[in-house]
């Protein structure tokens, strides 16, 4: 079937198998490989992107379900600007990534969190990220990064 998704502001249209997962549409059709697949039980969140502004696990969404809708991946976070998005800047400043595999999903989940809760407590950040697994960082600096981005104050 034909699926058209607006990805980071750009229309991507393709004829794909009905069962195509959104994450594979993004990686293989749109050519955006930052979003990763880390599991097959919707547990790890490495595939997290924004669908119409809200975080979803793109491995558990069919490309067909995203037809006609807007997806934002980490590649599209800074828009047309050369500058890093505040969340990206915060992750770097706080050493919130090591191997980087969980990072795109972690960043997008964090962006979605602040869009819904601009001033979270540490506990709220930790709970909000429970669907994003990281094996490298122990989450300590990720939490610091999200809190730093929140206090910098720019919404979404």
């Amino acid at each position: 079937m034909k699926v058209t998704v607006s990805v980071n502001g750009k229309q991507i249209a393709a004829e794909v198998a009905d069962r195509t997962l959104l994450v594979h549409f993004l990686r293989d059709v749109a050519g955006l490989t930052a979003t990763n697949v880390g599991c097959d039980t919707s547990s790890c969140g490495a595939c997290t992107v924004l669908l119409d502004g809200r975080s979803v696990k793109s491995c558990t969404v069919l490309a067909a379900q995203a037809d006609g809708r807007e997806v934002t991946t980490v590649e599209g976070l800074s828009g047309d600007s050369d500058e890093l998005h505040p969340m990206q800047r915060a992750f770097r400043a706080e050493h919130g990534l090591q191997c980087g595999f969980c990072t795109p999903g972690m960043v997008m989940a964090s962006v979605s969190l602040l869009a819904e809760n601009p001033s979270p407590t540490e506990d709220e950040v930790r709970t909000a990220l429970e669907g994003n697994l990281c094996r490298c960082t122990g989450y300590h600096n990720i939490v610091r990064a999200v809190l730093a981005a929140a206090s910098e104050g720019r919404p979404s």
């Binding site: 979803v56 069919l62 979605s112 669907g131």
Partner: protein
């Protein structure tokens, strides 16, 4: 990791959804938020040949007051329910439980209708529906009907829904009592409940204490006969058949049920 091949159909109305489902027959499944069905399909534990996507049926996504009831459209997401001012003020049990389903990404997609129709006994909302004494409205090939929650959950992943019958609305009478509590016991925040308890007034329902969500009838009877929370909670496991699994033996779940029912009743009483 990849679902078996299937044909995708998208419904633009409830009518069309029913027709597509009828055409698909036994090997068709409705797709709402997809967060119960897709995980099964990705592991090939479910292999429907046709998927009828009802996710765009905006007319099934609402929360409103209606004649002393709160009417929730089946496609309302867990996140919408958790954030809804109306649900928060009138049905805080539902708002609170919906806010604990899975994680934020799951809550952005998963729907109350999908969760109820899927009927996993370890899921939270089926037990909440029992505690709230909900009534489900459906539309199917033979027309519309209402099913009370107590008659809805028949077995493991089995409901009273007929093939091709679509859950459209969940109706909950505004509770008389302000007392409520939701106790979800897990190892990690994202886990399915090892045991869960939903209390609304005098109604007590249990998560993961059998093949279906169950009313803790013995507890309710004890409360009705005037027993206090501790005494009544001692009966929490009566008549239940909890699983024996990785998270603990049967006896442990029975013990948890007693502890959590007591805590739930105490918390509910404090709120009443």
């Amino acid at each position: 990791m990849i679902p078996a091949p299937f044909t995708y159909k998208r419904a633009s109305s409830v009518e069309e959804a029913l027709n597509l489902a009828a055409q698909a027959g036994e090997d068709g499944k409705f797709l709402a938020g997809g967060h119960s069905l897709m995980p099964l399909m990705k592991l090939r534990l479910a292999v429907p040949e046709t998927i009828v996507d009802i996710g765009r049926l905006g007319e099934l996504s609402y929360v409103r007051e209606d004649d002393g009831h709160i009417a929730v459209g089946a496609l309302a997401t867990h996140d919408e329910l958790a954030r809804s001012g109306l649900v928060g003020s009138e049905l805080p049990l539902l708002a609170h439980a919906a806010g604990q389903v899975g994680d934020p990404q799951v809550r952005h997609c998963g729907t109350i209708g999908g969760s109820l129709a899927h009927a996993d006994p370890a899921a939270d909302l089926p037990a909440v529906a029992l505690a709230l004494g909900a009534t489900f409205r459906t539309r199917g090939p033979s027309g519309s009907r209402e099913i009370v929650a107590d008659d809805f959950f028949l077995g493991l992943f089995e409901t009273a829904l007929q093939p091709g019958e679509l859950l459209t609305e969940i109706r909950i009478r505004k509770p008389q009592s302000a007392g409520w509590s939701f106790q979800k016991f897990t190892k990690r925040g994202i886990d399915w409940a090892i045991v869960g308890v939903a209390v609304q007034g005098a109604n007590v329902a249990l998560v993961n204490m059998g093949a279906t969500p169950v009313r803790a009838a013995a507890v309710e009877g004890a409360l009705a006969s005037g027993m206090g929370p501790s005494q009544a909670a001692a009966h929490a496991a009566d008549g239940t058949s909890p699983p024996d699994d990785l998270n603990g033996p049967r006896a442990y779940r029975e013990h948890l049920a007693r502890v959590l029912v007591r805590r739930a009743l105490e918390e509910s009483a404090a709120r009443a």
